[in-house]
């Protein structure tokens, strides 16, 4: 370890401190202040008073409540489904040797693609227009169902597409993490279990699952956080005016409050952001508590 002069250390740290101070620490304090400043005006940078009005406004705003509902539905559907499905795929991947790397690489592809760009493709696949039923409806028709407009149609259809696309987007990360978790389980444990007379399913339940449980919980926690912050997936599918489409999310609400036609209310945005932060924090803590009880080792 170098024991040089003190100033030198700070000098090397200076750029990082400047950037973080200006764009992370200061905003963090500021957002708290904003959220309690009532009637803040962006143009004149003045406000009437200090209080919790912003919070009560946001919590009573039907747009926020709709966004909250959408986000919660999205979280409840996508987190378990995507984690479970990723586990299935990883198990399948782990049980084969040939083509494993190819499949793994293909599965990871969505991670590096532009959410907005591919979302547009999904929109086209699901959209029903005057000219065409769209790819997905064609499939539904084949199986004898009747067409649905997934993009401008009923709420459940829109929610379905949003969940579907979200899962498609988050799976690569989960598959990658679970595949490497599975691969890192000591091969001898499986051998020992076999000799101890365990069947395939018992080995999975009693050895594999407990061994990768820390990673599963990690994915559930990050999955909750990620899904609560959903936004660009929704924009990609339904356009920027999410309130009109009825598909807004909490993060979408925050940005709408800040900017655009409905914008100019940083105080409301701050209050909403802090509400979101509290929700995420609570859920993460609950998750951690559950995992401490169940992830034993």
């Amino acid at each position: 370890m170098i024991s040089g002069n003190k100033a030198k250390g700070w000098l090397y740290l200076l750029p990082a401190l400047l950037f973080l101070g200006a764009f992370m620490v200061y905003p963090l304090i500021d957002v708290l202040i904003y959220s309690f400043e009532e009637g803040y005006n962006s143009a004149s940078q003045t406000f009437f008073g200090v209080g919790t009005y912003n919070y009560s406004y946001v919590l009573r705003d039907p747009y926020f409540l709709a966004a909250l509902k959408n986000t919660i539905i999205l979280v409840i559907i996508t987190v378990p489904l995507s984690t479970g499905f990723a586990l299935l795929i990883s198990l399948a991947l782990n049980s084969v040797r040939k083509l494993k790397n190819l499949f793994q690489t293909v599965y990871f592809l969505p991670y590096v693609t532009n959410t907005l760009a591919v979302g547009l493709v999904f929109m086209i696949l699901f959209k029903k227009t005057a000219y065409t039923e769209g790819m997905v409806n064609l499939l539904i028709n084949w199986f004898g169902g009747s067409s649905v407009d997934f993009i401008d149609g009923p709420y459940w259809a829109k929610m379905f597409v949003l969940c579907f696309y979200t899962i498609w987007i988050v799976l690569p990360f989960k598959i990658l993490i679970l595949t490497s978790a599975l691969a890192s389980v000591n091969e001898d444990l499986y051998k020992a279990a076999k000799i101890d007379g365990a069947s395939g399913f018992t080995i999975f339940r009693k050895i594999t699952l407990p061994m990768i449980s820390p990673m599963i919980f990690y994915l559930v926690i990050t999955g909750f956080i990620g899904a609560f912050k959903a936004y660009s997936d929704s924009v990609a599918l339904f356009g920027t005016d999410l309130n009109a489409a009825g598909m807004n999310t909490i993060v979408g609400y925050i940005y709408d409050m800040l900017y655009g036609n409905s914008g100019g209310f940083p105080s409301y945005a701050s209050a909403a952001a802090l509400i979101l932060f509290v929700i995420v924090l609570t859920i993460t803590c609950i998750n951690l508590m559950i995992s401490r009880k169940n992830v034993h080792y």
Binding site: N186, D188, L189, K191, A192, A193, K194, I195, D196, G197, A198, S199, T202, K206, I207, P210, M211, S213, H296, Y297
Partner: protein
């Protein structure tokens, strides 16, 4: 239960097509008797672990059959063979307590055949007592020392009452002192349970000290099977002779000429029996040297090492094949430490001759010169 191999062979195809395939087990054709402790011994990479994996069913042989008593188990999957196995790194389930680890094999028994909950508890406790870990039952593997972990692994392997117990390098992960202690422990457990036990090791001393029978392997092939002392005294070939014993056997190039065994120009022993004159390898155990003023074998002394009970004489000779000659003599032999030359007589039963081409032992009688 005895284990019988019939022309058992395991070949691993080489991934690189240009290189030859690896023959890990080459034509095993022998029987492991019931209720004995058997040491599978050989340098690393000689295929001894593969042999173990074939016995427990984790690997399938390329050719040949394997029998438990009279049952052909070659195609039986490991879960149906009922053997117990202790892995080199113990392979304890890290998320389970000691008790749960030992209980694991019992829980996997089909419900209809599984003993009652109380009986399982009793058997777990019994196995734990056998290896003396009954006071650690609620610990997790990570909270235990290597020696304790190994005891758990043995208990887990024994709890089902297997007809065969397999151990892969059981002592290699332990420190020197613990190794000695565990060695005795293994012997005790084996004697107490009477289970046919096969263990794999690359440490000849370990194998010699506790085995009823050792199997010496090299490059997949069995070189010799026998009681440790017999194998030590009558090695079948030069490899076995060199592999067993510490310090290792001293090997010289020499010659049988006119009924005399020659090292250089000195006739060290007389040879009897029907042997032609030929060049030979001469192996002399370190304890095969006797200090004698009239000795027939003269070496250049390098140094004398005092080891307490014994004295080790390090010397050299033009005909030796190693870096130096080591001979062990009693410490009261009164050797002159400053002598340039030392003369030895050789004990005939500590000397073996090997064919220079095949390296196999030449059977003949050896005796001291008259006079």
């Amino acid at each position: 239960m005895k284990i019988r191999f019939e022309h058992l062979t395991k070949i691993f195809p080489n991934m690189n097509k240009k290189l030859p395939d690896v023959v890990a087990v080459n034509d095993f054709d022998f029987e492991i008797p019931d209720g004995k402790l058997i040491g599978l011994l050989g340098p690393s990479g000689c295929g001894k672990s593969t042999a173990l994996n074939i016995i427990c069913g984790l690997e399938r042989p390329t050719k040949g059959r394997i029998y438990f008593d009279d049952d052909d188990v070659t195609d039986l999957p490991p879960e149906n063979r009922g053997v117990g196995m202790v892995f080199q790194n113990y392979a304890l389930y890290p998320h389970l307590t000691v008790k749960e680890n030992i209980m694991f094999p019992l829980r996997n028994i089909k419900r209809s055949e599984r003993p009652s909950e109380e009986e399982m508890e009793e058997r777990v406790l019994e196995a734990a007592r056998l290896v003396q870990i009954e006071q650690l039952m609620e610990r997790k593997p990570s909270q235990m020392s290597g020696g304790q972990q190994q005891r758990v692994a043995i208990a887990r392997a024994l709890v089902k009452g297997p007809p065969v117990l397999l151990l892969d390098e059981p002592l290699s992960n332990l420190d020197a002192r613990l190794r000695l202690q565990t060695r005795e422990e293994l012997k005790r457990i084996q004697t107490e349970t009477g289970i046919t036990t096969v263990f794999v090791t690359h440490d000849q001393e370990e194998a010699m000290s506790i085995s009823d029978l050792i199997v010496v392997m090299k490059e997949g092939a069995v070189h010799q099977i026998g009681h440790p002392q017999d194998v030590y005294d009558d090695p079948r070939d030069l490899f076995v002779a060199k592999f067993l014993g510490t310090p290792p056997i001293n090997v010289f190039t020499g010659e049988i000429r006119n009924g005399g065994l020659m090292i250089g120009d000195e006739e060290v022993l007389r040879v009897s029996g029907d042997v032609r004159d030929q060049k030979v390898y001469i192996g002399i155990r370190p304890e095969g040297f006797e200090l004698s003023d009239t000795g027939a074998f003269t070496v250049d002394m390098i140094r004398v090492e005092v080891m307490g009970r014994d004295t080790s004489v390090v010397s050299r000779h033009d005909a030796m094949t190693g870096v130096s000659i080591r001979s062990i003599i009693p410490s009261d032999s009164g050797i002159d430490r400053n002598a340039k030359k030392v003369r030895f007589d050789l004990k005939p039963h500590k000397v073996d001759l090997f064919d220079i081409e095949t390296e196999e032992r030449i059977t003949c009688g050896l005796m001291r010169r008259e006079g």
